[in-house]
């Protein structure tokens, strides 16, 4: 089986418009969470989100092109452009027929759908915009990336709520490892800030009234985020042969289903996915030095995840560094795994582990080394990144420093 290298990364999020800004914020423990600007927050019980502030599509797309794309698809293309440029590939030499695009998105272009419903039900107009379907479909991100880069191989989108990106990246990794594809653009994108969708989250009573404080005893819930991260995956031998700069190696992918409850997570299910990722990467638990946690800061997730990590890593859990970068880029749902993969890769590459921001009080039920508030210089060889979705679908990725 072939080894798989990550040769390009791109990201757009509340932490900045590119991977450099993204990493700079994470490294300094700076959160992108703030008062919502793109929706009327006076109508909401919560006020804060992790938005891509001041975003103007015409900085990235001509007007006609932007008309055809929801914000989530635009974010996907912007991150893919950066990742491909970052890979140093000479695009004219790339065999586009053997390249794959695999994206994750939880809710696709629901902002466009929401606008259509406002026209229909609120403004009482008898019609919605004819591009509503093309903007709303969750595969639009993958489709626009394929069109922009002329990629004619397999391209599809995985939608497994908060695990979407990890499932997508994992499938892309396996496709290269097994020889099905020679190049993959993979990651996820999401744009969550529409009134209808925010109201649905409000009704679930899991959104924090202030900020996201994962693993902290005084945590008050999650904070939604938006954005995209994409990466370029190649067979390691080919990447080395062309003299590519390699960010890290992707070595393991594990999945599981809780088969339990539609919203209540199970530590057993989460642990099964972590074990599967370690097994897939032939990694022993003691080799792992850092976990980028799912860490949503809900009452339920963080103790569940702590229990799952303890079950998998045993005594080694006391020496493991674990942080939730959702405390800075927010919970970007279908893009969460991609942003967190980017954070994990940059962490092992730079030998700096990003912190859990907003942390204030130790919680006996979350008794892990959560890297409170300040990043830590530490070389780690192996790191994993957890995603656990509503619906009980779990996906875990494992990376290695090269």
């Amino acid at each position: 089986m072939r080894r798989v290298a990550i040769t390009g990364i791109g990201a757009i999020s509340a932490l900045g418009r590119n991977i450099t800004e993204f990493w700079c914020a994470l490294e300094h423990g700076r959160s992108g969470i703030g008062p919502l600007e793109t929706v009327d927050r006076t109508k909401l019980r919560f006020q804060n989100g992790a938005e891509v502030r001041g975003y103007d599509p015409t900085e990235y797309f001509d007007e006609k092109q932007a008309d055809f794309m929801d914000r989530f698809a635009q974010f996907g293309v912007i991150a893919a452009r950066e990742a491909i440029k970052d890979s140093g590939l000479d695009w004219k030499d790339v065999d586009k027929e053997s390249a794959t695009i695999l994206t994750g998105s939880c809710v696709g272009g629901q902002c466009s759908e929401d606008l259509g419903f406002v026209e229909l039900y609120k403004n009482d107009r008898g019609r919605v915009h004819p591009l509503t379907i093309a903007r709303t479909m969750a595969n639009a991100g993958a489709s626009h990336i394929s069109m922009e880069f002329g990629i004619t191989g397999p391209a599809y989108t995985i939608s497994t709520a908060c695990s979407s990106s990890n499932h997508a990246i994992g499938q892309a990794f396996w496709a290269i490892r097994s020889g099905v594809t020679e190049l993959a653009i993979t990651g996820g994108s999401e744009a969550v800030f529409s009134m209808g969708f925010l109201k649905a989250w409000e009704a679930m009573r899991v959104i924090s009234p202030d900020t996201c404080r994962p693993f902290s005893k005084d945590r008050t819930g999650m904070v939604l985020g938006e954005g995209a991260a994409m990466m370029v995956l190649e067979p390691l031998d080919k990447a080395l042969a062309r003299g590519a700069r390699i960010h890290a190696e992707i070595v393991g992918f594990g999945m599981s289903a809780d088969a339990g409850h539609i919203t209540q997570p199970s530590a057993e299910g989460a642990a099964r996915a972590m074990r599967a990722a370690l097994r897939d990467g032939k990694i022993s638990p003691e080799q792992v030095g850092y976990i980028n946690a799912h860490g949503t800061a809900t009452q339920v997730n963080d103790p569940m995840e702590t229990a799952a990590i303890r079950a998998v890593f045993g005594e080694h859990a006391n020496r493991l560094a674990v942080s939730s970068t959702k405390s800075m880029h927010g919970h970007a749902l279908g893009a969460a795994g991609a942003l967190e993969a980017a954070a994990t890769i940059m962490a092992i590459r730079n030998g700096i582990l990003p912190p859990t921001a907003g942390y204030r009080q130790p919680d006996a039920d979350c008794d892990l080394d959560v890297i409170p508030n300040e990043s830590r210089k530490k070389e780690v060889e192996f790191a994993t990144s957890n995603s656990f979705a509503f619906g009980g679908l779990n996906a875990v990725l494992a990376f290695r420093k090269l």
Binding site: R45, A203, R205, H261, Q264
Partner: protein
């Protein structure tokens, strides 16, 4: 006999849980009625609609029993009618 407000709370719980109203009484625990945390959130939604009130998350988190739920709703309904009277 429970008073009218209590009965409306119990009916909302029964309707949300899809169980017979006779089985829901103030002395039952959430566990006895098979109410998990997501069911609890569905019940809060039903109660907000039934009484046309907003139940703040902070208050919702403190509710541990049906009696506390009834007491909390009574307080919010009284506050809402007082606010309405003041507005008039």
């Amino acid at each position: 006999m429970p008073d009218q407000l209590t009965q409306r709370v119990l009916n909302a719980i029964a309707a949300t849980q899809r169980i017979s109203p006779e089985t829901v009484t103030v002395d039952k625990s959430f566990k006895e009625l098979g109410i998990d945390s997501m069911d609890g959130i569905n019940i809060l939604f039903a109660l907000e609609n039934e009484f046309d009130i907003t139940i703040p998350d902070e208050l919702a988190k403190q509710i541990r029993s049906i009696q506390e739920m009834v007491d909390g709703i009574r307080k919010l309904v009284l506050e809402a009618s007082a606010a309405k009277a003041q507005g008039q």
